[in-house]
């Protein structure tokens, strides 16, 4: 079964596991699924998140301070699956490497997880992960950036499965007021190399922005905005998911 629905653009929502607590993150992620996220990214809080801006850094710190341990990620994924949602894990590589790549893959698959997004692992360094993902039937979601060469886009696409994560701006995570105009160009460049769905992330916070991205991307990825809205609890994130889900269902092409 494909990871994403191919008929329309999908909504992918991110939240760190264990934020604000392990149980709290289960409820928030369930609310995101109920609100209309087609797929959720369960983040692994990490001590040195170099690809994250202040919002997600603070959430990760809070999760760690509240006792998040790596094994909790499986519980959280299981809760998403039990709620009828689809989940992938997003993690910096060291926690997975330290746990054991094959063992982590096995335990994630057993929890119903569908793949791993790897922000600081490029295919060049991923031999062990290629083998483990094959053995346990997990999707490998690598990232491409506006700075990626054609050659690297082709190589990364060939190594990926499920979808390809296109970072729409050069920079770290965090909501932005305008959607970068580098995004359509990057998506077009990636399309030339692959039939995989292309998800676009970094900076989206509103239904209108989601609608704009859905005009050219197969999936819209939203992280920091969910973290911020979780201050309003389950109803807050469900509301945001609903707004964004409506956006991805009603793409608006912008003139540019």
């Amino acid at each position: 079964m494909p990871l994403l629905d191919e008929g329309r653009s999908s909504l992918i929502g991110y939240l760190p596991a264990g934020f604000p607590t392990v149980e709290g993150s289960k409820s928030l992620l369930k609310a995101m699924v109920d609100g209309g996220c087609d797929l959720v990214e369960v983040g692994v809080p990490y001590s040195d998140p170099v690809m994250d801006g202040p919002t997600i850094q603070a959430a990760a710190d809070q999760a760690l301070a509240n006792g998040f341990r790596l094994r909790h990620v499986f519980e959280v994924v299981e809760a998403v699956s039990a709620a009828g949602g689809k989940a992938v894990v997003m993690s910096y590589w060291n926690p997975i490497y330290h746990y054991g790549v094959d063992k982590f893959s096995r335990d994630l698959a057993a929890a119903g997880g569908l793949g791993i997004i790897t922000p600081d692992l490029v295919p060049d360094e991923a031999a062990e992960w290629m083998a483990a993902s094959q053995a346990h039937g997990l999707n490998r979601i690598f990232l491409v950036a506006p700075s990626s060469t054609e050659e690297r886009i082709a190589m990364t696409a060939a190594a990926s499965s499920g979808f390809l994560y296109a970072t729409s701006v050069m920079g770290v995570t965090g909501a932005r007021d305008v959607v970068s105009n580098a995004a359509p160009e990057l998506v077009a460049r990636v399309r030339a190399h692959t039939d995989l769905p292309i998800g676009v992330g970094l900076g989206v916070k509103s239904g209108a922005q989601a609608a704009e991205l859905a005009a050219f991307a197969d999936a819209v990825i939203v992280g920091s905005a969910f973290v911020t809205r979780s201050a309003d609890g389950e109803s807050g994130v469900a509301e945001l998911a609903k707004e964004l889900a409506e956006g991805v269902r009603n793409p608006v092409a912008t003139a540019s």
Binding site: D48, V50, M51, Q57, R69, N94, P95, V122, S147
Partner: protein, 403 residues
Amino acid sequence: MTDKHDPDQRGYFGEYGGRFLPEALIAAMDELTAVYEKARLDPEFTGEFDRLLRDYAGRPSLLTEAKRFAEHAGGARILLKREDLNHTGSHKINNVLGQALLTKRMGKKRVIAETGAGQHGVATATACALMGLDCVIYMGEVDTERQALNVARMRLLGAEVIAVKTGSRTLKDAINEALRDWVANVDTTHYLLGTAAGGHPFPVMVRNFHRIIGIEARQQCLDLIGRLPDVVAACVGGGSNAIGIFHGFLDDPEVRLVGLEPGGHGIESGEHGATLTEGTPGMLHGARSYLLQDEDGQTVEAYSISAGLDYPGVGPEHSYLKDIGRAEYRPVTDAEAMDAMMLLSRTEGIIPAIESSHALAGAQVLGRELGPDGVILVNLSGRGDKDMGTANKFFNLVPESDS
């Protein structure tokens, strides 16, 4: 074109190194590798680098025998490689001049860097002033306090200093913040990493810019005493001064290479930065290397009285040298280092950096092991002026009532 001690194509020294970095930075790392590989063989580049080291940094640095200090080191002969006498006061200037020249070759106008003790930040601000580059320095808030003098020096040199308030607010977090800046500005900006760590090509490139330390010291030893030392001792934070001096002796199997790590309040206290003594392999800041980490692969915060050694990672080549047994690594506590700092000051009239004092304390122990026939070459990586605040607190040199 490369030498036998270079890492493989992908930047691995044995199992250590590589590139564990976001895809967004890979193109820049490839560009840097290509520009560096060309430059290192280009007489115009190497000539300009050598000229700057000589006419600007003041190389070669002296080799000074420390006879009175040696009385407190089992009577072994102690030779000090005087990197403290370089312009800006430490070995850091060697690497900075090399990378600043590369920055100009790449046509980039902005430089960012992390700093712990502030020595790398000062050296970077200096080179940027010299070459007309914009300079932003990330420094953990804890370090801006314990090395306030260096913050003032960087600002006087025209650099912007940003105090990093995340995580442990020390060197590790300064590197995180610099990497975040780099991801956003990589088109126009060079990240001038200050130690022999990080993703490929930084470990090999930074090492090669510091190799001059070992090349000079080896010849100076032969000239002074007619033989090689028995041991070469250097402190290890990220590992740049140590790898620079070690490399002069890598092919001399009879010379022991000993790295001294920050033992902080003692290994058993858990408060230290002794990565190679206590760590396990993992990834941090772009390379696979030894790392202080917990059961979940979360980085453990390091601790040292010395800001320049207060780092939970280490350069990958040191991990390799440890595993193959070519180098040994030992911890030195805060108190041992501070005693060595005072001792060198009072026996030789040389005030060493607290970082370098770890190497001196290690040399005292090694000297007692070797006895009077032994010869120990110590890399005196920097001078201690920046550390007067810390020394004053530790030794109560200027009691409140006096000032």
